[in-house]
Amino acid sequence: MSDTIELLEAIGQNATLRHASVDELAPILEQAKASAALKSAVAAGDSSLLSEEFGHKPNRAPQISNAPGHEEDEPDHDGDDKPPHPSDPGHSPPHKRTPHEQ
């Protein structure tokens, strides 16, 4: 049986496979000796069936449950909901407080 993570990586990197239909992908997975879980997930169009192989791995989606509208929750915030100033990406000097921050 082929390694499912490697197979997923191969599908993700291949322009033909990434956008292949179920009918096109099924014989390729068969030839590659894909796991039963991967074959059934592709056939059903339901990636949750991969849990048969990897267990149930529900992840919170950090990027979209991280709320920039609530930064007043920060202890160092002044509560005025002022937009923060971006940091300088070019270097990493020790931080110096500006008069506005003091």
Binding site: A10, S47, N59, R60, Q63, E71
Partner: protein, 304 residues
């Protein structure tokens, strides 16, 4: 036509190059005096990189290199299987997922993430924080950790990734430059007085947990979405079509796209990962006074 499956080629790993081993071209070697070792940056570093949205498809070579060259990798990813993929790239991947908990403020979780990364940076390690999509979009911890690392004199860098927003434009065929495009975390429209421009696209993130002041829930209900619809109805008719979108995180998935009337949004099932798009509701209105002013300027410049 049958295509044989081939495993992805193993990448050649190249040992990090130290500046002392770089041979400069003669014109630099002759004219540039040898500099003493810099004391500006302390030992230890932080790189926050994006994993992109779809396994195998979006990880950039540079982000992968940051991961492979790190001493320790922290991961906040959208899918447990993507996390397994990341573990193939580095022997010490530490998941940040266990720090989430129902009933626990997400800000507490995000501060813990910053502390975890900074503890290793301060210990002199080269740390890589891997976040799904783009590490700087709807992600408090990477920005905060980089700010903190720089303030303490460490090298810190953010490496962009393909974000949910990028996928949304491609999958829905939207060009944000055509009519303009506003993005809001949906709760901002309830907590603050914001000005919506219905002549452009409106993209609302985290509608599934809109109105959650506690930061302790991962979803709110129809009554909260009704409050959002009430705000939006000031600028859009209730029969205005909205698009509910979710991008693919695994390469065997297709994007999920649902269309419905604005009035039906409260009753629709919505996950935290789904994004709501409102196409323009009014046509662009010409600014006649400004056009006349520009015409005058053109005439003066003799290019009309």
């Amino acid at each position: 036509m049958k295509r044989a499956w081939r495993a992805p080629p193993r990448r050649k790993t190249i040992a990090p190059v130290h500046s002392s081993t770089i041979k400069l071209p003669y014109y630099q070697a002759v004219s540039t005096p040898t500099l003493p070792p810099s004391n500006d940056a302390r030992c230890g570093s932080l790189a926050c990189v994006g994993m992109g949205m779809t396994l195998g498809s979006h990880l950039t070579p540079l982000a992968r290199s940051h991961i492979e060259q790190a001493d320790v990798v922290f991961a906040a990813l959208s899918d447990g299987i993507v996390e397994l993929w990341l573990q193939r790239m580095h022997p010490d991947v530490r998941s940040l997922q266990p720090y989430y908990a129902e009933g626990k403020s997400r800000m507490v979780t995000y501060r813990q993430w910053v502390d975890l990364m900074m503890t290793e940076v301060r210990a002199g390690k080269n740390v890589c924080g891997v976040f799904y999509g783009h590490p700087g979009i709807f992600a408090w911890s990477p920005h905060k950790a980089i700010e903190m690392a720089r303030a303490e004199g460490f090298k810190a860098h953010m490496e962009p990734g393909i974000s949910a927003e990028d996928c949304l434009y491609a999958d829905l065929g939207i060009d944000p430059g055509r009519f303009g495009c506003q993005h809001f975390e949906a709760s901002q429209l309830l907590f603050y007085e914001r000005r919506i421009d219905p002549a452009g696209y409106l993209v609302l993130w985290q509608v599934g947990l809109v109105g959650d002041l506690s930061l302790k829930r991962f979803s709110t209900g129809p009554a909260y979405r009704q409050a959002l619809v009430d705000v939006l109805s000031a600028d859009y008719p209730l029969d205005h079509e909205v698009i509910v979108y979710r991008g693919a995180t695994l390469p065997i998935q297709k994007p999920r796209v649902r269309r419905m009337a604005l009035r039906d949004l409260p009753g629709a099932e919505l996950t935290a990962e789904e994004t709501v798009v409102l196409p323009p509701g009014t046509p662009l209105k010409q600014n006649r006074a400004m056009r006349e002013r520009l015409a005058t300027l053109d005439k003066e410049a003799s290019i009309a």
